[in-house]
Each structure stands twice: as C-alpha cells, then as structure tokens.
C-alpha cells in the first residue's frame, strides 16, 4: 500500500493541487487536509504547500499558524511524522516554531520568479534521503519574502548539526549563508523556499528534481514500516 501524504489547504493556499500531483506522480497517495479540521485522517506524512495563506497579512504564515490542523501537525511532528513546508509552508513552519529562524523580505525587495540551483547539503532527513550526497538540483524559486534569517548562534548550530538541508548556488534573495532549506533536530520536519512540486514533469518544470523530495519521504516511510 502506498504511503498517504496529507496536503493541507489553508485559505489562500495555492499549490495544494500541485503538491497533491507531486505526491501522486512520485507514487504516494495524496490526502486533502483542511485547515479548520484538527483531524489528519491517518496520514503518514504532511505537506504544507505554498501560496498566500490569509493573503500573507502581517507576515507570511503568521495567521495560518493558529489553524486547528497545525496543533495536530505539531503534535505529530513531535512524534516523528515527516512534515514538509514549501514556500508559504516553510514560513508557516517557522512561525509555528517547528523550525528555527524566519523568512523576511528579499534583500532586493521584489517578488522574483527564477529557477534556482540548489545543493542538497544533507541526505539524512526524511525528505532528502533519496538524493546523492551534495546533489545539485534545480527548482523554481518564486517569492517576495524568502530571505532566511536567524541569530548567528542558531546558524552555527544548524551548520554544526547538519541541519542546513538546501543551499542556494546563486543566492536569489539575500538569505543568510545561502540557506534555502533547513530541518529540525530529528530531521523529520523540513522547510524550503523553492518549489519541488513545480519540478515534477519535464513538460511543465525546469527539471524533475522535485520528485526526489517526495520519493525520499516515501522511502523513509517504507523503511520505517519494514523495520
């Protein structure tokens, strides 16, 4: 049986269908989750998609953090359930304190849409184990508020613990230390700004590298199941 990956829809989520497509194309079973429903319906992993939840009022992700489903996601994450946040989803994870740091206005002050080259810095997370070490991948990056910031001490700890998961090869937004994605201590919760779900078909994306991210979690889950 294929693993069930929940995709949360917040008011203003845009990439929920696309995330579901990515899950499906990678061989998983997408399950729609609703922001106002505390139930996560027996999913094995959760994908928080991109978009403009609540219109990005105040700060991106600031309001979505208070949704019913996030309480459950937080609890499940603490138990080791894999959780991925992409773009707005990453912002929600930071606002929810599931990941350290924050995402602020791009240094050049504009929304910019450009394919980003990234290096996979660690394969020891639930969402990157299927990549070759130091693999270079291309995913669309498109955001106005994607500059990753944190205290120097936090950054040092992230580096030291191998929790910087993706690094930009051409930093598009001024992120500190070129960070594009980070993980929590256990490696089950990962956030990244560029969009794996928009790089799953050669026809529509700049690459199909995004499939590797979903493939990783499916591998991680089946490993867990067989253990």
């Amino acid at each position: 049986m294929s693993a069930r990956v929940g995709v949360v829809t917040f008011p203003g989520s845009l990439d929920d269908r696309d995330a579901a497509r990515a899950v499906y194309l990678a061989g998983g079973e997408p399950v729609a989750l609703w922001h106002d429903d505390a139930q996560i319906h027996g999913v094995d992993a959760v994908f928080l998609p991109g978009g403009f939840s609540y219109g990005d009022a105040l700060r991106c992700g600031a309001i979505a953090r208070f949704s019913q489903v996030m309480d459950t996601v937080k609890a499940a994450a603490a138990q080791g359930m894999p959780v991925l946040g992409v773009c707005n989803g990453f912002q929600v994870l930071c606002e929810s304190h599931l990941l350290p740091g924050a995402l602020v206005r791009n240094a050049h002050l504009r929304y910019r849409n450009r394919p980003a080259r990234l290096r996979v810095e660690t394969t020891r997370t639930a969402w990157t184990n299927a990549f070759a070490p130091e693999a270079e991948i291309v995913l669309p990056a498109k955001h106005g508020e994607g500059r990753y910031v944190a205290d120097e001490a936090v950054l040092d700890r992230l580096e030291g613990d191998g929790r910087v998961v993706f690094r930009y090869l051409d930093n598009p937004n001024g992120s500190m230390r070129d960070i594009a994605g980070v993980a929590n201590e256990a490696g089950n919760v990962v956030g990244l700004m560029p969009h794996p779900e928009h790089a799953v078909e050669a026809l529509t994306g700049p690459s199909t590298d995004g499939l590797g991210i979903v493939a990783s979690v499916l591998a991680h889950l089946s490993e867990g199941a067989s253990r």
Binding site: P11, G12, L14, D15, R17, D18, R21, D36, G51, F52, Y54, G55, D56, A57, R110, Y111, R112, N113, R114, P140, K142, H195, E197, H198, V200, E201, L203, T204, G205
Partner: protein, 600 residues
C-alpha cells in the same frame, strides 16, 4: 440606534417634481435626463439618477461603440464551438465534448494612472471575476501594457506600480501569468494602457447564466464588504448633512484590491456551481451593485426586490446611492433557490467569506430597492441595462493622415557599412520596445497550477487543460498602436494576424478572438473614424480567418487634454492544441536542422 440621513424616496420624488438635480454633473445629457423622466413618469430619485448615470455612461452602455460592434455579430463565422458570445461576461468556446474555455481582455487604464499599483491590481481582479461568472475556474492571466517614454520621470512612478499591482494580485490569487507585451511611446505618457486578460476552464455542463429568474429566489451578495471605493462619480449627490460633517471620509476614493478575498471567491463560487446551488450569477465590476442588480434583473423574466440596508458596509454613513454606486472589489451576486440558501451561506462561511441575502426575485417586472423600508428605486430593469442611449457619432478621417504616410520606411537612412549594421543591431537590442522584459516578467508567477507548458519568453502561452488527454490551449495578446495610427483598418488586422501567428507557431489551431479597443474620445470625429476602421478591420479579418470575436472591451477617452493616444486595438487569440506534449517551443532546434522562411 440606527441613524441615517433622510433619503430621497420615490414618494418624495413624485411630490417634488421640480427639484433641481445634478444630472449634468453626473455626465448625463439634457435629452438623456428627459428620457429618464419619461420612463419613470416622474423625476428620478437620487439613487435612480445615480444608477442611470452609471448604466448609461459610455463605459457601461457602449453608447458610442454599439453601432460599430454589431459588425462582429454580423460577420462572425458560425462555429459550433461558440457556446456563449458577445453580450455575456466573457465568450465561451468548446474545446472538446467535455471541456469549454472562456477568456476575455479588459482595460483598466485610467485607474492605473491615478494609482498604478491598485489600479492595475483591480484590473486583474475584475477580469478574473468575469471568468468566474461564466462558471469557469480561472487558470491564467496575461497583460498588455503601454507606457510613456521609458526615461520620463512619471514612467518611473507608473511602470513599477503597474507591474507590482499585476504581479501581486495574480501571484496572490494563484494564477500563472503566461505572457503579454510591454511598449513605450510618448503618446501614452499621461494615459498608460493596462489591459489584462484572463482565461478559465470548465466542464461544459457548468456554464452559468446571469439571469435572475424564478420568483421567490433569493439574491445573495457574496464577498467583501461595501465601502466608499470609487464612488467619486456620484459624490455630487452627497447630501448637505454629510458634507458638513467635514470628514475626509466623504472624499471619493480609490479601489484597493484584495486578492486573498478573490481567491476565496473563486473557490466558493466553483464549489457552489459544482453542487448546483446557483440559479444565476453576476460579478460586481466597475459599476458595482447598480450594474449587477440591473443586469441580472433585466436578463430574468420578472423583477427584483432588494433591501439595501442588509448590504454589509465597511464605512459609516453611506447613503443608498453610495451603496449602489460603490466599486468595492471582490464581490459577486448570486441568485439562489430559497431552499438552498442556507447551504450557500454555510459553504461561504466555511471558507471565511461573507455572504448575505439582500433581496428576492419577484414577478413585478420592476427593480425595487428599499432602504430601511423606504423605496428609493423603482424602475424597469431593462431601461437601465439594455435600453440606454445609442449614438451614431460623426466620423472624419484625421487631417494629418496623408502627412504621416509620407514619412515612409524607404526614406529613412540605412546602415551601409558593417560597423553601421552592427551599431544598428545593438541599438535595436537596447531599445525599450525590443529589449529583454524579464525585469517585469520575473515578478510574475508563471508555474502555479503546474500546467504552464509555455510561458514567457515564448510567442504564446500554452496551458494544459487535462492531464489525461493532454489537451491544452495557446493564447497570445498583441497590439501595435503605431501601425494603427498610420492605418487603423490594417493596423488592427496586423495585430490580429500577429496574435494568430503567435498561436499557430506553438502548434495550436486558433479558434477564437477577444479584443480590447483603446481609443481617444468618441466625441472627436477623428477618433471615431479610427475606431470604426479598426472594428471593421478586425471583423473582416476574423471573417477571412474563420474565427469569431467572442467578446472584449472598449476603452474610450484615453487622452491627455485634447491629445488622443494612438488608436490601440489589442487582440487576444485563443487556440486549441490536442496534445500539449507536441507544442513547438521558441528557438533554433538542433545543429543541422534546416532553417526555412515562409510567408511573404
């Protein structure tokens, strides 16, 4: 305590026939005002006057363009693909047995000059709601832009604002921007053009109607609260009591777009359509409730009764004519079976969207609007929506046409040496109209939805409609004001041909046209001549190409003082491609491929 200023009711209007009314300030002509009095058999109330002035404006009534636009209907080739045509919110064409597509291009020129960001943003929002009103899910947007000289200081205000507005709205509502155009010419300095196109897809069975039919059906207002947005036009009706209060609130104000609410509108409307909970639907555009109420009532077979005090308001002290004229964005009007009204409200609530029953469909044949129990409007709805004035304005060929035609390409100096040719190529590559536009296009999301097969920098945008069959569409949006200035008939046809070719080179078959006609003042016979020529050119061209014009938009009064812009018809052509995997991208292919030049 509910306090409101005393209003001008139908009773008051009948009792005070000689009351002076600011009809001229509202843009009505003497004979138009007299006709309103004849229709009503009394003087109009303030609210009625506001409604007639709005519905009979050039913008809503097409009073100067109507006689010419008829050509489209007359010359359009018959095609079984056309499911809804001119007169609907947007044209609808069949793609295959199951799927239909609707698309339309519309202008938001003047608001974008006053407040570039919000003007452009609300232009995108408005065209998206037209698409929703047909029953479709919007799936992409495009934008055609004209600015003044690139080095003029005001261009530095207008251009970044417009791009920010289009980008912010489109990105936030979640629609890929799949192409457009950007040109600079001093004639647009005081009057930039912002034309936005949206396209949507639907199962053919989901096509919606704007009819308010079925006596007893409930009229529901969905979406944002109503504020003082864009009521500038009717501010002359502000009662003395109110203006005396000296609040700056009384000032007419700019509409601000809220793409987040628009996104919710899309999701709620589609859910309601799919559940078959809606009898009729109309978007609230520039003319707000006035237009939506009168058009839905006129399209139906009966009448409508509305209790205006039920409309949720954002500002204090709004009078009935303010509420009727407000251009607050992100609102839709729904006609719903009373047995299903509860469910409609509940579904809107689930998405966090406001929905309020404000009236009912009646069999009186009248549109009646009450405000706190007092009747402020009682009119035949067709007199507002369908029976506005129609003008056959004088036409005259511009005097300078011969003069500018003398200045021919053949007489220009030509580069002769290698160095001169090199320099010419460099100059052209660096010229604002040919240079790379990625500063603009990078501010737009192009891949949300995961169906964009071709976007910028390709000649046309190509979007997949169905993942199983691979069927898709291609769209291009083109115009050339300089050609049209020289010869509006052929200039318009060149724009049509360019868009047609751009669609064809992707591998798609062109099937339909939407147009946005940007011109100066229709009261100027020279402009009117340009307009007539351009419309005839498009109608003839479409006839020859065998594709129908399915809808569009006319924008007059694009001028600074007495100086009109170049006549600028912007043409959108839509094509169908059976399998998007077989699209042909831009570029030179592989080493060894043969290069051929075809055509003349």
């Amino acid at each position: 305590m509910t306090s409101y200023v005393p209003v001008d009711t139908v009773g008051v209007a009948s009792a005070t026939p000689d009351e002076k009314q600011p009809w001229a300030e509202l843009g009505l002509k003497d004979d138009e005002y007299q006709r309103i009095r004849e229709i009503l058999g009394r003087r109009p109330t303030q609210s009625e006057l506001a409604m007639y002035s709005i519905m009979w404006s050039e913008h809503c009534s097409y009073k100067s363009s109507k006689v010419h636009l008829r050509q489209f209907g007359q010359k359009n080739p018959r095609t079984p693909r056309l499911l809804a045509g001119i007169g609907e919110n947007a044209g609808v064409v069949a793609i295959d047995e199951n799927i239909a597509v609707t698309f339309k291009v519309e202008s938001h020129n003047h608001p974008s000059y006053v407040e570039p960001k919000q003007g452009a943003a609300t232009g995108v929002g408005g065209i998206i709601r037209d698409i929703i009103a047909m029953g479709a899910r919007p799936i992409a947007v495009m934008d055609s832009l004209r600015f003044g000289a690139i080095d003029h200081p005001d261009t530095a205000r207008v251009l970044p604002g417009v791009v920010d507005g289009i980008g912010h709205y489109g990105n936030c509502v979640g629609l890929p921007n799949i192409g457009g155009e950007t040109y600079f010419d001093p004639c647009y300095q005081g009057n930039p053009l912002v034309n936005a196109l949206s396209v949507g897809v639907m199962p053919r069975s989901r096509l919606q109607s704007m009819q308010a039919s079925g006596t007893g059906n409930v009229v529901i207002l969905l979406g944002a609260k109503t504020g003082r947005d864009g009521i500038g036009g009717v501010s002359v009706l502000a009662s003395a009591t109110f203006s005396e209060s000296g609040e700056d609130d009384a000032r007419p104000s700019v509409q601000v777009g809220d793409p987040f609410t628009e996104k919710l509108l899309i999701e709620v409307c589609l859910e309601l359509f799919d559940a078959q909970l809606v009898v009729g639907v109309q978007d609230l555009g520039g003319a707000g409730l006035t237009c939506a109420l009168s058009e839905t009532a006129a399209a139906g077979d009966g009448g409508m009764h509305v209790d205006l005090e039920l409309v949720p308001l954002r500002a204090k002290g709004m009078e009935p004519h303010d509420i009727l004229a407000s251009e607050s964005q992100e609102r839709m009007l729904l006609i719903v079976d009373p047995a299903k009204a509860e469910e409609v409200l509940a579904r809107a609530h689930r998405w966090g969207l406001l929905a309020t029953a404000i009236g009912t469909v009646t069999d009186t044949g009248r549109l009646v609007v009450d405000f706190h129990g007092q009747t402020v409007v009682d009119v035949p709805p067709k007199s507002l929506a369908d029976e506005g004035p129609v003008y056959n304005r004088p036409l005259a060929e511009p005097n300078d046409l011969g003069l500018i035609a003398v200045d021919r390409a053949e007489t220009l100096p030509r580069p002769a040496t290698d160095e001169e040719i090199r320099q010419t190529v460099l100059d052209m590559a660096a010229s604002p109209n040919l240079c790379d536009k990625s500063w603009i296009t990078e501010q737009y999301d192009s891949s949300v939805f995961g169906n964009t097969v071709l976007g910028t920098p390709h000649d046309a945008g190509v979007v997949r409609l169905d993942e199983r069959t691979g069927v898709g569409i291609a769209i291009s949006l083109d115009g050339n004001g300089r050609f049209a200035r020289l010869d509006p008939y052929h200039g318009a046809q060149l724009a049509l041909a360019e868009a047609y070719r751009n669609v064809a080179v992707t591998g798609a078959t062109p099937i339909a046209v939407s147009d946005c006609l940007n011109f100066g003042s229709p009261e100027d016979p020279h402009v009117m001549w340009q307009f007539e020529r351009a419309v005839t050119g498009i109608a003839d061209g479409c006839q020859k190409l065998g594709i129908p014009v399915t809808g569009g938009n006319v924008s007059f009064y694009n001028q600074t003082g007495r100086e009109a812009i170049h006549p600028t018809p912007v043409i959108g052509v839509l094509g169908v491609i059976e399998d998007v995997a077989r699209r042909i991208p831009l570029g030179l292919g592989r080493t060894g491929d043969t290069i051929a030049l075809i055509g003349t």
